[in-house]
Protein backbone atom coordinates (compact mmCIF):
# COMPACT_ATOMS: atom_id res chain seq x y z
CA UNK A 1 0.00 0.00 0.00
CA UNK A 2 1.12 3.52 -0.71
CA UNK A 3 0.71 6.52 1.51
CA UNK A 4 -2.24 7.72 -0.55
CA UNK A 5 -4.31 4.71 0.27
CA UNK A 6 -3.99 5.04 4.04
CA UNK A 7 -7.28 5.32 5.85
CA UNK A 8 -7.59 8.04 8.49
CA UNK A 9 -10.41 7.02 10.80
CA UNK A 10 -11.72 9.16 13.62
CA UNK A 11 -13.19 7.32 16.59
CA UNK A 12 -15.62 9.63 18.33
CA UNK A 13 -18.85 9.73 20.32
CA UNK A 14 -19.84 13.11 21.68
CA UNK A 15 -20.68 11.70 25.09
CA UNK A 16 -17.77 10.69 27.28
CA UNK A 17 -17.02 7.25 28.61
CA UNK A 18 -18.91 5.24 26.01
CA UNK A 19 -15.88 3.24 24.88
CA UNK A 20 -13.93 5.21 22.26
CA UNK A 21 -10.50 4.55 23.69
CA UNK A 22 -11.33 0.89 24.35
CA UNK A 23 -12.43 0.51 20.74
CA UNK A 24 -9.36 2.32 19.40
CA UNK A 25 -7.00 0.08 21.36
CA UNK A 26 -8.78 -3.16 20.50
CA UNK A 27 -9.33 -2.26 16.88
CA UNK A 28 -5.70 -1.19 16.56
CA UNK A 29 -4.50 -4.55 17.82
CA UNK A 30 -7.05 -6.47 15.75
CA UNK A 31 -6.12 -4.67 12.52
CA UNK A 32 -2.44 -5.20 13.23
CA UNK A 33 -3.07 -8.89 13.82
CA UNK A 34 -4.70 -9.08 10.40
CA UNK A 35 -1.51 -7.73 8.91
CA UNK A 36 -2.48 -4.09 8.43
CA UNK A 37 0.17 -1.55 9.43
CA UNK A 38 -1.75 0.46 11.97
CA UNK A 39 -1.06 3.60 13.97
CA UNK A 40 -3.23 4.86 16.79
CA UNK A 41 -3.16 8.56 17.51
CA UNK A 42 -4.17 9.80 20.90
CA UNK A 43 -6.03 13.03 20.14
CA UNK A 44 -7.41 13.26 23.68
CA UNK A 45 -4.75 15.60 24.96
CA UNK A 46 -6.71 16.52 28.06
CA UNK A 47 -7.30 13.03 29.43
CA UNK A 48 -4.92 10.83 27.49
CA UNK A 49 -5.19 7.17 28.31
CA UNK A 50 -4.76 5.27 25.09
CA UNK A 51 -1.17 4.54 26.13
CA UNK A 52 -2.48 3.05 29.34
CA UNK A 53 -4.98 0.77 27.65
CA UNK A 54 -2.30 -0.49 25.30
CA UNK A 55 0.15 -1.04 28.16
CA UNK A 56 2.64 1.35 26.60
CA UNK A 57 2.66 4.11 29.16
CA UNK A 58 6.16 3.39 30.45
CA UNK A 59 7.73 3.35 26.99
CA UNK A 60 6.84 6.87 25.98
CA UNK A 61 9.81 9.14 25.46
CA UNK A 62 8.56 11.71 22.94
CA UNK A 63 5.05 12.75 21.98
CA UNK A 64 3.19 14.48 19.15
CA UNK A 65 4.25 17.74 20.77
CA UNK A 66 7.97 17.19 20.15
CA UNK A 67 7.23 16.02 16.62
CA UNK A 68 5.34 19.22 15.87
CA UNK A 69 8.08 21.32 17.43
CA UNK A 70 10.66 19.50 15.27
CA UNK A 71 12.55 18.52 18.37
CA UNK A 72 12.36 14.84 17.43
CA UNK A 73 11.64 12.72 14.39
CA UNK A 74 8.27 11.01 14.03
CA UNK A 75 9.96 7.60 14.24
CA UNK A 76 11.33 8.49 17.65
CA UNK A 77 7.93 9.41 19.02
CA UNK A 78 6.05 6.39 17.67
CA UNK A 79 5.86 3.61 20.27
CA UNK A 80 5.78 0.17 18.76
CA UNK A 81 3.61 -2.42 20.50
CA UNK A 82 5.51 -5.25 22.16
CA UNK A 83 3.52 -8.21 20.87
CA UNK A 84 2.11 -6.60 17.73
CA UNK A 85 4.91 -4.81 15.91
CA UNK A 86 2.42 -3.83 13.19
CA UNK A 87 0.88 -1.44 15.68
CA UNK A 88 2.34 1.85 16.84
CA UNK A 89 1.05 4.57 19.14
CA UNK A 90 1.66 8.27 18.71
CA UNK A 91 1.17 9.60 22.24
CA UNK A 92 -0.60 12.86 22.98
CA UNK A 93 1.51 15.70 24.25
CA UNK A 94 0.80 17.36 27.55
CA UNK A 95 -2.60 18.90 28.20
CA UNK A 96 -1.30 22.42 27.74
CA UNK A 97 -1.02 21.68 24.03
CA UNK A 98 -4.78 22.20 23.96
CA UNK A 99 -4.13 25.90 24.26
CA UNK A 100 -2.29 26.24 21.00
CA UNK A 101 -2.95 23.12 18.96
CA UNK A 102 -4.80 23.89 15.73
CA UNK A 103 -6.59 21.72 13.18
CA UNK A 104 -3.65 22.29 10.80
CA UNK A 105 -1.28 20.79 13.36
CA UNK A 106 -3.39 17.66 13.62
CA UNK A 107 -3.61 17.43 9.86
CA UNK A 108 0.15 17.74 9.58
CA UNK A 109 0.78 15.06 12.19
CA UNK A 110 -1.74 12.68 10.64
CA UNK A 111 -0.26 13.14 7.18
CA UNK A 112 3.21 12.32 8.52
CA UNK A 113 1.93 9.20 10.24
CA UNK A 114 -0.04 8.22 7.15
CA UNK A 115 3.19 7.89 5.15
CA UNK A 116 4.15 4.85 7.17
CA UNK A 117 0.83 3.14 7.94
CA UNK A 118 -2.20 1.67 6.22
CA UNK A 119 -4.61 2.57 9.00
CA UNK A 120 -4.46 5.65 11.20
CA UNK A 121 -6.99 5.49 14.04
CA UNK A 122 -7.58 8.76 15.84
CA UNK A 123 -8.98 8.51 19.35
CA UNK A 124 -11.07 11.67 19.78
CA UNK A 125 -11.83 13.35 23.07
CA UNK A 126 -15.43 13.53 24.26
CA UNK A 127 -17.40 16.66 23.48
CA UNK A 128 -17.66 18.76 20.36
CA UNK A 129 -15.28 21.56 21.23
CA UNK A 130 -11.78 22.44 20.10
CA UNK A 131 -10.16 19.12 20.94
CA UNK A 132 -12.74 17.21 18.99
CA UNK A 133 -12.54 19.61 16.06
CA UNK A 134 -8.78 19.26 15.93
CA UNK A 135 -9.12 15.49 15.86
CA UNK A 136 -11.81 15.67 13.19
CA UNK A 137 -9.56 17.78 10.97
CA UNK A 138 -7.15 14.87 10.64
CA UNK A 139 -9.77 12.32 9.61
CA UNK A 140 -11.30 11.24 6.33
CA UNK A 141 -13.78 8.76 7.73
CA UNK A 142 -15.25 8.13 11.14
CA UNK A 143 -16.57 5.51 13.49
CA UNK A 144 -19.14 6.85 15.91
CA UNK A 145 -19.36 4.91 19.16
CA UNK A 146 -22.51 4.99 21.23
CA UNK A 147 -24.24 2.98 23.92
CA UNK A 148 -27.96 2.19 23.75
CA UNK A 149 -28.83 5.10 26.01
CA UNK A 150 -30.91 8.08 25.03
CA UNK A 151 -28.32 10.65 26.04
CA UNK A 152 -25.45 8.89 24.27
CA UNK A 153 -27.50 8.52 21.10
CA UNK A 154 -28.47 12.19 21.23
CA UNK A 155 -24.83 13.24 21.49
CA UNK A 156 -23.80 10.83 18.76
CA UNK A 157 -26.43 12.38 16.50
CA UNK A 158 -24.97 15.83 17.14
CA UNK A 159 -21.50 14.60 16.30
CA UNK A 160 -22.73 12.98 13.10
CA UNK A 161 -24.18 16.33 12.08
CA UNK A 162 -20.80 17.97 12.59
CA UNK A 163 -18.98 15.19 10.72
CA UNK A 164 -21.43 15.57 7.84
CA UNK A 165 -20.85 19.29 7.65
CA UNK A 166 -17.09 18.71 7.51
CA UNK A 167 -17.52 16.17 4.75
CA UNK A 168 -16.14 13.26 6.77
CA UNK A 169 -17.34 10.00 5.23
CA UNK A 170 -18.14 7.23 5.39
CA UNK A 171 -19.40 7.37 8.94
CA UNK A 172 -20.13 4.02 10.56
CA UNK A 173 -21.60 3.07 13.89
CA UNK A 174 -20.41 0.85 16.71
CA UNK A 175 -22.97 0.14 19.38
CA UNK A 176 -21.19 -0.62 22.64
CA UNK A 177 -22.22 -2.09 26.00
CA UNK A 178 -25.24 -3.87 24.57
CA UNK A 179 -27.17 -6.00 27.05
CA UNK A 180 -29.38 -8.43 25.16
CA UNK A 181 -31.56 -9.17 28.19
CA UNK A 182 -32.33 -5.53 28.83
CA UNK A 183 -33.00 -5.00 25.15
CA UNK A 184 -35.32 -7.98 24.99
CA UNK A 185 -37.30 -6.69 27.96
CA UNK A 186 -37.31 -3.22 26.40
CA UNK A 187 -35.50 -1.65 29.31
CA UNK A 188 -32.88 -0.41 26.90
CA UNK A 189 -33.08 1.12 23.45
CA UNK A 190 -33.17 -1.61 20.83
CA UNK A 191 -30.58 -1.81 18.08
CA UNK A 192 -33.25 -0.72 15.62
CA UNK A 193 -34.15 2.32 17.71
CA UNK A 194 -30.56 3.47 17.59
CA UNK A 195 -29.90 2.85 13.91
CA UNK A 196 -33.29 4.34 13.09
CA UNK A 197 -32.31 7.68 14.57
CA UNK A 198 -28.67 7.78 13.60
CA UNK A 199 -29.21 6.33 10.13
CA UNK A 200 -25.68 4.96 9.86
CA UNK A 201 -24.45 1.56 8.76
CA UNK A 202 -23.75 -0.63 11.75
CA UNK A 203 -20.11 -1.67 11.84
CA UNK A 204 -20.34 -3.61 15.06
CA UNK A 205 -22.25 -4.54 18.19
CA UNK A 206 -20.19 -4.97 21.33
CA UNK A 207 -21.80 -6.65 24.31
CA UNK A 208 -21.39 -5.47 27.85
CA UNK A 209 -18.50 -7.64 28.98
CA UNK A 210 -16.61 -7.49 32.25
CA UNK A 211 -13.53 -8.86 30.52
CA UNK A 212 -13.22 -5.39 28.96
CA UNK A 213 -12.64 -3.88 32.37
CA UNK A 214 -10.22 -6.62 33.40
CA UNK A 215 -8.18 -6.17 30.24
CA UNK A 216 -8.22 -2.41 30.57
CA UNK A 217 -6.67 -2.63 34.00
CA UNK A 218 -3.97 -4.97 32.71
CA UNK A 219 -3.11 -2.81 29.76
CA UNK A 220 -3.68 -5.76 27.45
CA UNK A 221 -6.51 -5.19 24.98
CA UNK A 222 -8.84 -8.17 24.66
CA UNK A 223 -8.02 -8.63 21.01
CA UNK A 224 -4.44 -9.55 21.92
CA UNK A 225 -5.48 -12.90 23.33
CA UNK A 226 -7.54 -15.72 21.95
CA UNK A 227 -11.01 -14.51 21.12
CA UNK A 228 -12.63 -16.01 24.18
CA UNK A 229 -14.98 -13.31 25.35
CA UNK A 230 -17.94 -11.83 23.45
CA UNK A 231 -16.45 -8.34 23.34
CA UNK A 232 -13.15 -9.66 21.97
CA UNK A 233 -14.99 -11.36 19.11
CA UNK A 234 -16.98 -8.21 18.47
CA UNK A 235 -13.83 -6.08 18.19
CA UNK A 236 -12.20 -8.62 15.89
CA UNK A 237 -15.31 -8.58 13.71
CA UNK A 238 -15.28 -4.81 13.54
CA UNK A 239 -11.72 -5.04 12.25
CA UNK A 240 -12.68 -7.65 9.68
CA UNK A 241 -15.62 -5.58 8.44
CA UNK A 242 -13.37 -2.54 8.23
CA UNK A 243 -10.99 -4.58 6.09
CA UNK A 244 -13.87 -5.31 3.78
CA UNK A 245 -14.86 -8.79 4.90
CA UNK A 246 -18.57 -9.58 4.95
CA UNK A 247 -19.23 -10.67 8.52
CA UNK A 248 -22.94 -10.89 9.38
CA UNK A 249 -24.40 -8.98 12.32
CA UNK A 250 -27.00 -10.36 14.67
CA UNK A 251 -29.44 -8.19 16.57
CA UNK A 252 -29.45 -9.52 20.15
CA UNK A 253 -32.90 -8.16 20.93
CA UNK A 254 -34.44 -9.89 17.94
CA UNK A 255 -32.78 -13.22 18.37
CA UNK A 256 -34.19 -13.88 21.81
CA UNK A 257 -37.71 -14.15 20.51
CA UNK A 258 -39.00 -17.69 20.22
CA UNK A 259 -37.50 -21.06 20.86
CA UNK A 260 -36.07 -21.54 17.43
CA UNK A 261 -34.46 -18.15 17.61
CA UNK A 262 -33.01 -19.11 20.97
CA UNK A 263 -31.49 -22.28 19.60
CA UNK A 264 -30.23 -20.28 16.67
CA UNK A 265 -28.67 -17.89 19.09
CA UNK A 266 -26.76 -20.62 20.88
CA UNK A 267 -25.14 -21.49 17.60
CA UNK A 268 -24.63 -17.95 16.50
CA UNK A 269 -23.23 -16.29 19.58
CA UNK A 270 -19.84 -16.45 17.94
CA UNK A 271 -20.98 -13.83 15.52
CA UNK A 272 -20.78 -10.83 17.85
Amino acid sequence: MTAQSSRFILICSGKGGVGKTTLTANLGIALARQGARTAVLDADFGLRNLDLLLGLENRIVYTAQEVLADSCRLEQALVKHKQQPNLALLPAGNPRMLEWLKPEDMRKIAAMVGEHFDYVLIDAPAGIEGGFRNAMAAAQEAIVVTTPEVSAVRDADRVIGLLNSEGVKPIQLVLNRVRPKMMASQEMLAVDDVTDILALPLLGLVLEDEQVIVSTNRGEPLTLGEAGSPAARAYLNVARRLLGEDVPLIDPSQERRGLRARIGRLMQTKIF
Binding site: R154, D157, R158, I160, G161, N164, I197, A199
Partner: protein, 235 residues
Amino acid sequence: MNAVVVPPGWDGGPGWLVLPSPEGAATAVELVERALDEASLLADAPLPMGLGLAAAGWQLGVTQLRAVTERLAQSGVTLVALCSDDPRSRVAAAAIGLQTSPPLPQRPAGAQPPGPAGGPGLALQRGTLRSGDHLEVEGSVLVLGDVNPGACVRAGGHVLVWGRLRGIAHAGCQGDTEARIVALQLRPLQLRIADAVARGPEDSPPAGMAEQASLVEGEIRLDPAQPCWPLAARA
Protein backbone atom coordinates in the same frame (compact mmCIF):
# COMPACT_ATOMS: atom_id res chain seq x y z
CA MET B 1 -45.20 48.73 -3.77
CA ASN B 2 -45.09 46.52 -6.84
CA ALA B 3 -46.74 43.21 -7.55
CA VAL B 4 -44.46 40.25 -6.96
CA VAL B 5 -44.26 36.94 -8.74
CA VAL B 6 -44.14 33.77 -6.67
CA PRO B 7 -42.74 31.01 -8.87
CA PRO B 8 -44.53 27.65 -8.98
CA GLY B 9 -43.91 25.50 -5.93
CA TRP B 10 -42.39 22.05 -5.87
CA ASP B 11 -45.87 20.56 -6.16
CA GLY B 12 -46.30 21.51 -9.82
CA GLY B 13 -49.06 24.04 -9.13
CA PRO B 14 -49.37 27.44 -10.75
CA GLY B 15 -47.12 30.38 -10.06
CA TRP B 16 -48.68 33.39 -8.40
CA LEU B 17 -48.70 37.07 -9.04
CA VAL B 18 -49.29 38.78 -5.71
CA LEU B 19 -50.80 42.26 -5.89
CA PRO B 20 -50.05 44.70 -3.09
CA SER B 21 -53.09 46.05 -1.25
CA PRO B 22 -54.91 48.66 -3.30
CA GLU B 23 -53.72 52.13 -2.38
CA GLY B 24 -53.19 55.13 -4.62
CA ALA B 25 -54.60 55.31 -8.11
CA ALA B 26 -53.01 52.30 -9.79
CA THR B 27 -55.51 49.78 -11.11
CA ALA B 28 -54.96 46.04 -11.02
CA VAL B 29 -54.20 46.00 -14.74
CA GLU B 30 -51.59 48.71 -14.33
CA LEU B 31 -49.91 46.79 -11.54
CA VAL B 32 -49.89 43.63 -13.64
CA GLU B 33 -48.49 45.62 -16.53
CA ARG B 34 -45.74 47.02 -14.35
CA ALA B 35 -44.86 43.53 -13.13
CA LEU B 36 -44.70 42.30 -16.71
CA ASP B 37 -42.43 45.18 -17.66
CA GLU B 38 -39.92 43.99 -15.15
CA ALA B 39 -39.29 41.30 -17.67
CA SER B 40 -36.97 39.20 -15.54
CA LEU B 41 -39.80 38.58 -13.09
CA LEU B 42 -41.49 36.17 -15.45
CA ALA B 43 -38.57 35.38 -17.72
CA ASP B 44 -36.73 33.00 -15.44
CA ALA B 45 -39.83 31.32 -14.00
CA PRO B 46 -41.43 28.92 -16.46
CA LEU B 47 -45.16 28.64 -15.76
CA PRO B 48 -46.36 25.34 -17.21
CA MET B 49 -49.42 25.36 -14.97
CA GLY B 50 -50.20 29.00 -15.64
CA LEU B 51 -50.38 31.89 -13.22
CA GLY B 52 -52.75 32.72 -10.41
CA LEU B 53 -53.56 36.24 -9.29
CA ALA B 54 -53.46 36.84 -5.55
CA ALA B 55 -55.44 40.01 -5.00
CA ALA B 56 -56.27 40.38 -1.33
CA GLY B 57 -58.15 43.59 -0.63
CA TRP B 58 -59.10 44.16 -4.29
CA GLN B 59 -62.58 44.34 -5.75
CA LEU B 60 -62.29 43.06 -9.28
CA GLY B 61 -65.15 42.84 -11.75
CA VAL B 62 -65.41 40.78 -14.91
CA THR B 63 -64.12 43.68 -17.05
CA GLN B 64 -61.00 44.16 -14.98
CA LEU B 65 -60.28 40.44 -14.78
CA ARG B 66 -60.70 40.14 -18.56
CA ALA B 67 -58.26 43.02 -19.02
CA VAL B 68 -55.72 41.31 -16.78
CA THR B 69 -56.20 37.99 -18.56
CA GLU B 70 -55.68 39.63 -21.95
CA ARG B 71 -52.66 41.59 -20.82
CA LEU B 72 -51.07 38.41 -19.48
CA ALA B 73 -51.97 36.48 -22.61
CA GLN B 74 -50.06 39.04 -24.69
CA SER B 75 -46.98 37.98 -22.73
CA GLY B 76 -47.76 34.33 -23.24
CA VAL B 77 -48.98 33.73 -19.70
CA THR B 78 -52.30 32.03 -18.94
CA LEU B 79 -54.25 33.27 -15.96
CA VAL B 80 -55.82 30.25 -14.29
CA ALA B 81 -56.87 31.30 -10.81
CA LEU B 82 -57.84 34.12 -8.54
CA CYS B 83 -57.15 34.16 -4.85
CA SER B 84 -59.25 36.85 -3.20
CA ASP B 85 -61.00 37.66 0.06
CA ASP B 86 -63.80 39.46 -1.78
CA PRO B 87 -66.75 37.15 -2.61
CA ARG B 88 -67.91 39.32 -5.52
CA SER B 89 -64.50 39.20 -7.14
CA ARG B 90 -64.47 35.43 -6.77
CA VAL B 91 -67.89 35.17 -8.42
CA ALA B 92 -66.67 37.35 -11.28
CA ALA B 93 -63.56 35.21 -11.66
CA ALA B 94 -65.57 32.00 -11.67
CA ALA B 95 -67.80 33.53 -14.34
CA ILE B 96 -64.88 33.84 -16.74
CA GLY B 97 -63.60 30.36 -15.96
CA LEU B 98 -60.92 31.01 -13.33
CA GLN B 99 -60.40 28.82 -10.31
CA THR B 100 -61.05 30.71 -7.11
CA SER B 101 -59.99 30.44 -3.50
CA PRO B 102 -60.00 32.60 -0.39
CA PRO B 103 -56.54 33.83 0.62
CA LEU B 104 -54.45 32.59 3.50
CA PRO B 105 -54.62 35.05 6.40
CA GLN B 106 -52.44 38.13 6.47
CA ARG B 107 -49.24 38.07 8.46
CA PRO B 108 -48.49 40.71 11.06
CA ALA B 109 -47.51 44.01 9.48
CA GLY B 110 -44.06 44.06 8.03
CA ALA B 111 -43.93 40.36 7.30
CA GLN B 112 -44.33 39.15 3.74
CA PRO B 113 -47.88 38.27 2.77
CA PRO B 114 -48.37 34.51 3.01
CA GLY B 115 -49.14 33.99 -0.64
CA PRO B 116 -50.83 30.84 -1.82
CA ALA B 117 -49.26 27.66 -3.14
CA GLY B 118 -46.10 27.36 -1.17
CA GLY B 119 -46.10 30.99 -0.19
CA PRO B 120 -43.29 33.42 -0.66
CA GLY B 121 -40.13 31.78 0.48
CA LEU B 122 -40.70 28.09 0.77
CA ALA B 123 -37.28 27.18 2.10
CA LEU B 124 -35.93 23.79 1.22
CA GLN B 125 -33.77 21.90 3.67
CA ARG B 126 -32.07 18.95 2.05
CA GLY B 127 -31.10 16.30 4.55
CA THR B 128 -31.82 15.33 8.11
CA LEU B 129 -31.69 17.85 10.94
CA ARG B 130 -29.71 16.21 13.70
CA SER B 131 -29.54 16.81 17.43
CA GLY B 132 -28.39 20.36 18.11
CA ASP B 133 -29.40 21.69 14.70
CA HIS B 134 -31.73 24.68 14.75
CA LEU B 135 -33.40 25.78 11.56
CA GLU B 136 -35.50 28.92 11.46
CA VAL B 137 -37.12 30.38 8.34
CA GLU B 138 -39.43 33.30 7.66
CA GLY B 139 -41.81 31.56 5.30
CA SER B 140 -42.65 27.89 5.15
CA VAL B 141 -40.05 25.16 5.20
CA LEU B 142 -39.84 21.76 3.56
CA VAL B 143 -37.38 19.36 5.15
CA LEU B 144 -36.33 16.51 2.89
CA GLY B 145 -35.19 14.18 5.64
CA ASP B 146 -35.88 13.59 9.30
CA VAL B 147 -35.99 16.04 12.17
CA ASN B 148 -34.25 14.08 14.91
CA PRO B 149 -34.72 14.33 18.67
CA GLY B 150 -32.78 17.35 19.89
CA ALA B 151 -33.22 19.21 16.61
CA CYS B 152 -35.62 22.12 16.21
CA VAL B 153 -37.31 23.62 13.17
CA ARG B 154 -39.21 26.91 13.27
CA ALA B 155 -41.10 28.58 10.48
CA GLY B 156 -43.25 31.66 10.08
CA GLY B 157 -45.49 29.54 7.88
CA HIS B 158 -45.90 25.79 7.56
CA VAL B 159 -43.41 23.14 8.61
CA LEU B 160 -43.41 20.24 6.16
CA VAL B 161 -41.26 17.21 6.82
CA TRP B 162 -40.74 14.65 4.11
CA GLY B 163 -39.50 12.22 6.71
CA ARG B 164 -39.90 11.58 10.39
CA LEU B 165 -40.46 14.46 12.78
CA ARG B 166 -39.08 13.48 16.17
CA GLY B 167 -37.62 16.73 17.42
CA ILE B 168 -39.35 20.03 18.02
CA ALA B 169 -41.36 21.87 15.40
CA HIS B 170 -42.87 25.33 15.61
CA ALA B 171 -45.10 26.49 12.76
CA GLY B 172 -46.48 30.00 12.57
CA CYS B 173 -43.82 31.24 14.94
CA GLN B 174 -44.77 34.86 14.11
CA GLY B 175 -48.31 34.19 15.23
CA ASP B 176 -49.93 32.64 12.13
CA THR B 177 -52.58 30.38 13.66
CA GLU B 178 -53.42 28.80 10.30
CA ALA B 179 -49.94 27.34 9.96
CA ARG B 180 -49.63 23.54 9.88
CA ILE B 181 -47.07 20.96 10.69
CA VAL B 182 -47.10 18.05 8.28
CA ALA B 183 -44.82 15.02 8.40
CA LEU B 184 -44.70 11.54 6.96
CA GLN B 185 -44.30 10.41 10.55
CA LEU B 186 -45.36 12.87 13.19
CA ARG B 187 -43.82 11.86 16.51
CA PRO B 188 -42.29 15.09 17.76
CA LEU B 189 -41.10 15.76 21.28
CA GLN B 190 -43.04 18.98 21.17
CA LEU B 191 -45.25 20.81 18.71
CA ARG B 192 -46.00 24.49 18.58
CA ILE B 193 -48.35 26.37 16.33
CA ALA B 194 -48.41 30.12 16.88
CA ASP B 195 -48.64 30.38 20.69
CA ALA B 196 -50.07 26.94 21.37
CA VAL B 197 -47.79 24.21 22.71
CA ALA B 198 -48.40 20.48 22.79
CA ARG B 199 -46.31 17.50 23.71
CA GLY B 200 -46.01 14.89 21.01
CA PRO B 201 -48.18 11.77 21.09
CA GLU B 202 -46.85 8.73 22.92
CA ASP B 203 -48.45 6.02 20.83
CA SER B 204 -46.84 4.82 17.66
CA PRO B 205 -48.03 6.38 14.43
CA PRO B 206 -50.47 4.81 11.98
CA ALA B 207 -48.37 3.02 9.39
CA GLY B 208 -47.87 4.70 6.07
CA MET B 209 -50.03 7.76 6.66
CA ALA B 210 -48.74 11.29 6.65
CA GLU B 211 -50.13 13.34 9.49
CA GLN B 212 -50.69 16.98 10.10
CA ALA B 213 -51.03 19.15 13.15
CA SER B 214 -53.21 22.23 13.07
CA LEU B 215 -54.79 24.63 15.54
CA VAL B 216 -58.47 24.03 16.19
CA GLU B 217 -60.06 26.33 18.72
CA GLY B 218 -56.75 27.09 20.34
CA GLU B 219 -55.72 23.44 20.67
CA ILE B 220 -53.28 21.50 18.55
CA ARG B 221 -54.97 18.63 16.80
CA LEU B 222 -53.51 15.75 14.79
CA ASP B 223 -55.22 14.41 11.69
CA PRO B 224 -54.30 12.46 8.61
CA ALA B 225 -52.55 14.94 6.36
CA GLN B 226 -54.56 16.71 3.71
CA PRO B 227 -53.80 15.10 0.37
CA CYS B 228 -53.53 18.41 -1.46
CA TRP B 229 -51.55 21.56 -1.64
CA PRO B 230 -51.97 24.45 -0.94
CA LEU B 231 -53.16 23.64 2.55
CA ALA B 232 -56.59 25.23 2.44
CA ALA B 233 -58.09 26.85 5.50
CA ARG B 234 -60.24 24.48 7.52
CA ALA B 235 -63.93 24.73 6.64
